[in-house]
């Protein structure tokens, strides 16, 4: 085999892994949101959270099915979702955190919605046509998600004393997980240089500006905690992912090979 072919194969596997990581972000967050089904504070919110969950799970399907095709090893989107354990998941840690209370859920959602609007706007420019096409669908949904989560942050922050304190605490608690959104490793850097992946570090300034302006308007403080936790893209997760996968993968673990 010549070295050029080797290099192309290596790059193909990087793209496969990249698509899987993006699918993992969507699937873990979508699964978390779906946990609100029948538990939300009121009916309209129940419908909203589960609809947003569906958008994320749909994205995961698109990323996984593309990864499966590009890999060419016969893995379906279900195989990728159900037949991997924690250390093989590559989602950013913020996506796997438990739903907590409604404030925790909306704080995380708002921070990710702002990030997603920036991320998918850039991914639409990817030289990889499929990734760009998935992004073109996702961006429309994320803009809508953001419109809703932004309203909630303002309502809760500028609401009662209790809602203010609880949403502020939620932001403080999740803040250390946001740094990872803007960090990339060597392999992702190489995909960025080829115009395939999004330059996530470059998204940070706009993200901070947007988050800060909404928090200001919501009479909330932007957290300045110095702590940070990272590792998701390297497969190093919080203890929460195991529980999430135990539920998500229950059927395949109990009845391997089961199909709908």
């Amino acid at each position: 085999m010549n070295s050029k072919a080797n290099k192309q194969d290596a790059n193909k596997q990087d793209i496969v892994n990249y698509a899987i990581a993006l699918g993992d972000d969507s699937l873990t967050l979508g699964h978390r949101l779906s946990e609100w089904s029948s538990n939300a504070p009121f009916l309209e919110e129940d419908l909203a959270l589960t609809n947003v969950a569906l958008d994320f799970i749909g994205r995961a399907m698109m990323f996984y099915s593309y990864a499966g095709e590009a890999e060419g090893a016969g893995r379906s989107e279900d195989d990728i979702a159900y037949l991997r354990d924690c250390r093989q998941y590559r989602n950013l840690l913020i996506c796997e955190l438990p739903i907590g209370d409604f404030a925790d859920t909306m704080a995380r959602q708002f921070l990710i919605d702002v990030y997603d609007v920036g991320f998918y706007t850039e991914l639409m420019q990817s030289v990889d046509e499929t990734l760009a096409a998935i992004a073109a669908k996702a961006i429309k949904e994320s803009r809508y998600h953001l419109r809703r989560s932004e309203q909630w942050i303002k309502r809760l922050g500028d609401g009662t004393g209790e809602s203010h304190d609880r949403i502020q605490r939620a932001f403080n608690d999740v803040w250390g997980y946001t740094h990872e959104l803007f960090e990339v490793d060597k392999i992702e850097e190489s995909l960025i240089n080829q115009g395939i992946a999004v330059d996530r570090p470059a998204l940070k300034t706009d993200w901070e500006r947007c988050v800060q302006s909404v928090l200001n308007e919501a009479t909330l403080d932007t957290p300045d905690g110095q702590w940070s936790i990272r590792g998701g893209r390297a497969g190093l997760h919080t203890e929460h992912l195991g529980y999430l996968l135990a539920e998500l993968q229950f059927m395949q673990r109990a009845y391997p090979g089961l199909e709908w």
């Binding site: 609809n51 958008d55 799970i57 994205r59 046509e129 073109a136 949904e141 809508y144």
Partner: protein, 175 residues
């Protein structure tokens, strides 16, 4: 004009087989809004014929829309009943679906059904910040309406309330 009449018409000389397929697929509707066909919704993108093989290309509305698998099955079943056995349903990702592809007839049917049709999206009009123009009440035509929730019974709808006739209604959001 009803669908059965349309299909009968296309059996006469002067109609192409593609036109017959179009008329048949006019019967396939969104399972959650049974008054609008997949053509009216703008999710039917292409019909092609290669020998006996029919290829129908559709696009998804929202990424996780659970109606898509039902729609795929309905396309197959409708065409199978008309004698087409070799049917392939392809899903296209790009360009992304927009409510601008909804036909005028589809919008009118939605309104009659009690769902406010989507506004034309017009570049950035649907963006997160701009609130957009008034959503008109499908019951009484009033423009004095307010959004109750950004999400209604399905991903494609939002929940509104009319301030004049006091009726709640679904709005098919523009995307």
């Amino acid at each position: 004009m009803n669908a059965a009449q349309n299909i009968a018409d296309t059996a006469r000389p002067g109609y192409s087989e593609i036109e017959r397929l179009e008329a048949l697929l006019e019967q396939v509707t969104d399972p959650e809004i049974p008054v609008v066909s997949i053509h009216d919704l703008g999710i039917l993108r292409d019909i092609s014929l290669d020998g006996d093989r029919v290829t129908v290309t559709i696009t998804t509305t929202y990424s996780g829309c659970p109606a898509m698998s039902t729609i795929r099955a309905d396309i197959r079943q409708t065409l199978a009943q008309a004698g087409y056995q070799d049917v392939q349903v392809k899903q296209s990702l790009s360009p992304a679906w927009t409510t601008d592809w909804m036909t005028a007839q589809g919008r009118e049917k939605l309104r009659e059904y009690g769902i406010a049709p989507p506004q034309k999206s017009n570049q950035g009009h649907c963006a997160m910040i701009s609130p957009g123009t008034a959503v008109v009440c499908p019951q009484c035509g009033s423009e004095r309406t307010e959004c109750i929730s950004e999400f209604g019974s399905t991903a494609c709808k939002a929940l509104y309330r009319c301030l004049d006739c006091a009726e709640p209604f679904d709005y098919f959001k523009c995307i």
